[in-house]
Amino acid sequence: MQALSIHGLAKTYKNGVVALKGIDFDVAEGEFTALLGPNGAGKTTTIGIVTSLVNKTSGTVKVFDYDIDTHMDRAKSCIGLVPQEINFNQFEKPFDIVVNQAGFYGIPRKLAKQRAEKYLKQLSLWDKRDDISRNLSGGMKRRLMIARALVHEPRLLILDEPTAGVDIEIRRSMWDFLKKINKEGITIILTTHYLEEAENLCRRVAIIDHGEIIVQGRTRELLEKLRTETFVLNLRKPLAQLPPLDGYAVTQVDDTTLEVEVSKSQNINGLFELLSKDDVQVLSMRNKVNRLEELFVRLVEGKG
């Protein structure tokens, strides 16, 4: 079954901004999908329509086969949302925020309190349960919103940039947590600007730009599409003149740094042989950028 099925979804805001130009986007049950795109691509708009925070202009949205036009309440019950911006009452306590949210979904108070305890503990917020939420750190606020989104045990969890402004350590523990609940059967969609995140976490990605989905598919297969990779070489000694390196696209960045573009069909050993012949010693080598990022840039640029 499809956890989310979007067809021909278009959105024009009242001020005339065309945020979505009729996108098709499907997520199978159990998947872990990233929605990637630059600022203003239309990610939050898409999520807003799915979670009924934004009115659509046209198109259809189904959540576990419930059409949001005809079975809104069923569709809503299936979704947990972690929004991009903080949207809880900052003067309330984390525990109350989570318990009340459960109440809005019709969960009896007693069970709501048990669930709130369970999820606040899982997100390491239990000792903060009675603090005023405003005093939580940014990362804690995000985790509070994750706990709140899970309290009615949704089948589909949607996270809009959950790790924005979160430090590496907490980001990693968040990743582990999301992987765990995905394994337990929750379908996850997340948007992110950290491409490493998508590559690490998501089996599938959809790339959106200017309100259109440019490409979607398995993360690994999309990476295969990348024919070339760029390596950065650090040299032991300054290089006055770049030696001829036939067959390799090399650019000299500064006197001890080279950048080499290597295609999948090429052999990187050959490059080192040529360099050694000219007595150029390579100290270290690294990938220039995250590969997905490269793909991303290429796709986005290729279009525009």
Partner: protein, 269 residues
């Protein structure tokens, strides 16, 4: 289980879920009123005490009787109603606007709770505050004058219906409000004048006929009169008319707020 049984079950659990959701809003709203009691309950107590001292005590002594009662006894019901109107309205307008402003209205928007229950939930917050304030002001009034309560049922029902009406009014105000100023405009420029002109301080029979007729266009007149009738047994207008007008307004305001929420006015772009 047959398909119809299944459907029934889902229907029943939906109903129960809706009730829990509604209850959650009401509890949250009532807790809010009590938590910030210094802002919600103390100000009306102070200002009404001043009204009783100045208008009832000092000036009232010179006014003499009105409608067959001491001036203090005559304005007491009016002042209670004035507090109810103000407080139920302000409660919903500020609470709902606050939840829009802080974006936590989205917690309700993403939930499966139907809009009519969101309306009723917020409304209940205003009604509870209205009733609390009514009780408070009544107690204060008893320090200054004796109140008989001629028709208890009318008295209580009119207070509740008035609180319902103005809570709904506050909700509609909040739906349209875009900034904090928009929350105070209606109470200041419409509610207060209509209340003062609605016979809180005088019987409209004191007015020239023309102004009496103009006063009859003011819906608050009917509520204040009906309430006064409940307590004192005297009224400027017919009690049936008063109920009809109050109920009509409630129905109208409820339909408008439901329509606004269903359209997502002020909430969904």
């Amino acid at each position: 289980m047959t398909a119809s049984q299944l459907a029934e079950n889902i229907g029943a659990s939906r109903l129960r879920a809706n009730y829990i959701g509604f209850q959650t809003i009401v509890i949250k709203e009532v807790v809010r009123v009590l938590r910030i009691w210094i802002q919600t309950l103390v100000p009306p107590a102070i200002s009404m005490t001043l009204y009783f001292i100045i208008f009832g005590g000092l000036i009232g002594r010179r006014v003499g009787e009105m409608g067959g009662y001491s001036y203090m006894a005559y304005i007491a019901p009016g002042l209670i109603m004035m507090s109810v109107i103000n407080n139920s309205y302000v409660n919903v307008v500020s609470s709902f606007f606050g939840s829009k402003f802080g974006h936590y209205i989205e917690e309700l928007q993403v939930s499966p709770l139907p809009n009519y229950l969101i309306i009723l939930g917020y409304m209940m917050g205003g009604v509870v505050r209205g009733i609390l304030v009514a009780v408070l002001i009544t107690i204060i009034a008893l320090f200054f004058t004796r109140l008989h309560l001629v028709h208890p049922l009318i008295t209580v029902s009119v207070v509740i219906l008035t609180a319902v009406l103005f809570s709904l009014g506050g909700l509609i105000n909040a739906i349209y409000a875009k900034k904090f100023d928009d929350v105070t405009i209606i109470p200041t420029f419409i509610l207060t004048p209509l209340t003062y002109l609605g016979g809180v301080f005088y019987s409209i029979h004191l007015l020239p006929v023309f102004w009496q007729n103009v006063s009859r266009l003011d819906p608050i007149l009917y509520m204040v009169s009906a309430f006064r009738y409940g307590i004192l047994g005297v009224s400027d207008i017919g009690i049936g008319t008063a109920y009809a007008i109050i109920l009509l307004f409630i129905l109208g305001l409820f339909c408008i707020s439901l329509w606004l929420l269903n359209r997502g006015v002020g909430l969904r772009s």
